[in-house]
């Protein structure tokens, strides 16, 4: 498989916070890679730094940031502008904040094509209608003339997805695309993303805190904690053999119907996510980790558990099974 997006050793500092501390993420063509973690773990910042959309005053460093084989880390704002919305597109959690309330759906959607490709208006409108139909909107003609506030949350998210697809992107970055939606609509939107990916061969980087979403849609998962990817694996392997104490803890926190008995306490991770400042060394999870020991304050080794399964921890792979035996 060819790597569509390759991020090596990404570091982002925002003010006095080390938001991302050496994360490496690869998204292959036609693959869904999920970044999962709790708020403040650096997953959204990682995505924004790929798009060149970091807040003012932040500093980004990488050893490589390649998109379709080309180094884009050195691109200036002009060059990034040409890529964004064209070959790589992004959708956000709350469609209402990313759609312009003063313009109709149609004019916002056609702007993308007109700007990137110089497509004439009539053709752009046809393309917009075609995409609205593709994302399952029943009366595209009507919706094109409406304003975002006239649409329901699920419809708005569909419009966002359709808009992101206007220029046939190769990479779609979706930051919590279904978090604000009802479960019924969430299932519909995720099905849609899965279908589109198969039909269009999209690479998707999907950011979520919901392990249910990850399990159902991801090909590969990277678990982030305090700015680092602590574990990365193919989805089935991660859920079957979680290695990092944080991943294992996270999996016990979720009530699974039929698995956790009612009345029995859920697993939980004591403490809170730390705020990490530049110069912090060692494992960011050690204060909450039941397995922490002296070496966790030093350099943490990146270990291969199996093919494509990586672990950032001082424990050796398989520690959990040995402890249980």
């Amino acid at each position: 498989m060819t790597a569509l997006l390759e991020v090596r050793d990404l570091r982002v500092t925002i003010g006095s916070t080390a938001a991302v501390r050496g994360a490496s993420i690869t998204v292959n063509k036609g693959e869904t890679h999920c970044l999962v973690g709790e708020s403040g773990c650096g997953k959204s910042i990682s995505a924004l730094s790929v798009m060149g959309l970091l807040p003012r005053g932040s500093k980004r460093e990488t050893t490589a940031l390649r998109f379709a084989g080309e180094e884009i880390g050195t691109y200036g704002e002009k060059q990034m502008e040409r890529l964004r919305g064209d070959r790589m597109a992004m959708i956000f959690q709350e469609p209402m904040t990313s759609l312009n309330p003063a313009y109709t759906v149609g004019s916002q959607m056609t702007e993308v094509l007109r700007r990137h490709r110089g497509t004439p208006r009539a053709q752009a409108v046809d393309r917009a209608a075609e995409l609205l139909a593709l994302v399952g909107i029943t009366a595209p003609g009507l919706r094109l003339g409406q304003f975002p506030h006239q649409l329901s949350g699920g419809l708005r998210q569909r419009v966002m997805i359709a808009m992101a697809l206007m220029c046939d992107p190769e990479l779609l970055i979706a930051d919590e695309p279904t978090t604000a939606l009802d479960v019924t609509v969430q299932a519909q939107i995720l099905r849609l993303l899965a279908t589109l990916q198969k039909d269009l061969g999209l690479g998707i980087l999907l950011i979520t805190h919901d392990l249910g979403v990850v399990a159902r849609i991801a090909d590969r998962v990277s678990v982030m904690y305090a700015g680092e990817v602590v574990e990365s694996a193919p989805t089935a392997a991660l859920f079957a053999d979680p290695e990092h104490p944080y991943t294992r803890g996270l999996l016990t926190c979720v009530p699974v119907p039929g698995k956790v008995k009612r009345g029995e306490p859920l697993g939980s991770i004591p403490g809170v996510v730390p705020r990490v400042t530049p110069g912090f060394t060692g494992c960011g999870f050690r204060d909450r980790c039941s397995q922490a020991h002296a070496a966790c304050a030093g350099t943490i080794p990146r270990q291969a558990v199996a093919d494509g399964h990586e672990l950032l921890c001082t424990l050796s792979p398989g520690w959990g099974r040995q402890a249980a035996a």
């Binding site: 909107i137 419809l155 099905r191 249910g212 016990t252 009530p255 699974v256 991770i269």
Partner: protein
């Protein structure tokens, strides 16, 4: 279970008038439509449904924050309307979704927790301090954290403050409206465990509103499914999750994405018509989205069928 149910609602209805525009006549929105149920003391009634189904309006009616258009709310056997606000506060207390919005940012945690005691107007300083310490301790906050302001606390700690404030008057009933929806999963588990522990230790009754069915299954003894203002199914938690009877309940359960890889994303089969509380369809209000609707569903509203297994409102159940 002895004595009166902790919460009882009879024929509860609440309408809102919504303005459509400057000159258009206002529209009637029925947020809660003829809802009746009883929650036995010491149990947990989970209320689930999509946004706009009326579950938060129901919570506000039961808390006495909204007046019903028709019907009655009885808390601990007493009619809520006309009850003294201070007496009401001693019986029933809320915990809301967003601890960032529901706590006064300028006050110390201690003072926030003491507020309900202060409002009673009859509790002395020493007693107040003692009760605040007790409430903070109950929810796992230190005396030191009591001197902080909400901005210095994490989301989970703030939700603990909100719970301490709800408990300080030692109420019998707590209405939890999406209490963990704004929290991270690891913190959500802490708060759910705390709520479960408090219920057993203090013999509390919860009305627990959530859109997260897995959370509701975990904590509720009975579940009510709301759709466009009506309870379409109400059953003991175990049988609801094992054998849902209403097609809407089945669709809701099918949409839950459990962390089981390889299963893919389910097809819920609801289509893309969204429920609109301002335009409630005739007949069964669920029929435009229902995958198994038949002729009668679009013309005649189903009657609630009470049985041993609970209540269901569907022509086909």
């Amino acid at each position: 279970m002895t004595g009166a149910p902790a919460i009882e609602v009879r024929g509860l209805r609440r309408e809102f008038r919504v303005r459509q525009g400057l000159f258009a006549p206002p529209k009637q929105v029925i947020a809660v439509d003829d809802v009746s149920f009883a929650v036995p003391a010491g149990s947990v009634l989970g209320v689930v449904g999509e946004s706009g189904c009326g579950k938060s309006t129901l919570a506000r009616l039961i808390l006495g924050l909204l007046e019903p258009t028709a019907g009655d709310v009885l808390v601990d056997g007493q009619r809520l309307s006309g009850m003294d606000r201070r007496a009401r506060a001693r019986l029933i207390q809320p915990v809301f979704q967003d601890p960032f919005a529901s706590l006064n940012p300028k006050r110390r945690v201690r003072d926030i927790v003491a507020m309900p005691l202060l409002a009673q107007g009859s509790i002395g300083r020493a007693e107040m301090d003692r009760r605040v310490d007790e409430a903070l301790d109950r929810v796992g906050l230190s005396i030191h954290q009591g001197t902080r302001v909400p901005a210095q606390l994490s989301g989970g700690q703030r939700q603990r403050v909100a719970i301490a404030r709800a408990l300080v008057l030692r109420p019998r009933i707590v209405v939890c409206d999406e209490p963990t929806s704004a929290l991270d999963v690891s913190v959500q588990a802490q708060i759910l465990n705390l709520l479960a522990e408090l219920r057993t230790d203090l013999g509390l009754t919860y009305l627990f509103i959530s859109h997260n069915l897995a959370v509701v299954e975990h904590i509720a003894s009975e579940v009510a499914v709301m759709y466009l203002g009506r309870i379409v199914e109400r059953t003991e938690s175990e049988s609801l999750f094992a054998a849902p009877r209403h097609p809407y309940t089945r669709a809701l359960l099918a949409s839950v994405l459990t962390p089981e890889p390889g299963l893919g994303v389910p097809d819920v089969g609801l289509g893309d018509i969204m429920p609109d509380p301002a335009n409630i369809p005739p007949g069964c209000r669920f029929h435009p989205r229902c995958p198994v609707a038949i002729g009668i569903c679009s013309t005649e509203a189903p009657k609630p069928a009470h049985g041993a297994a609970g209540l269901v409102e569907c022509h086909l159940a």
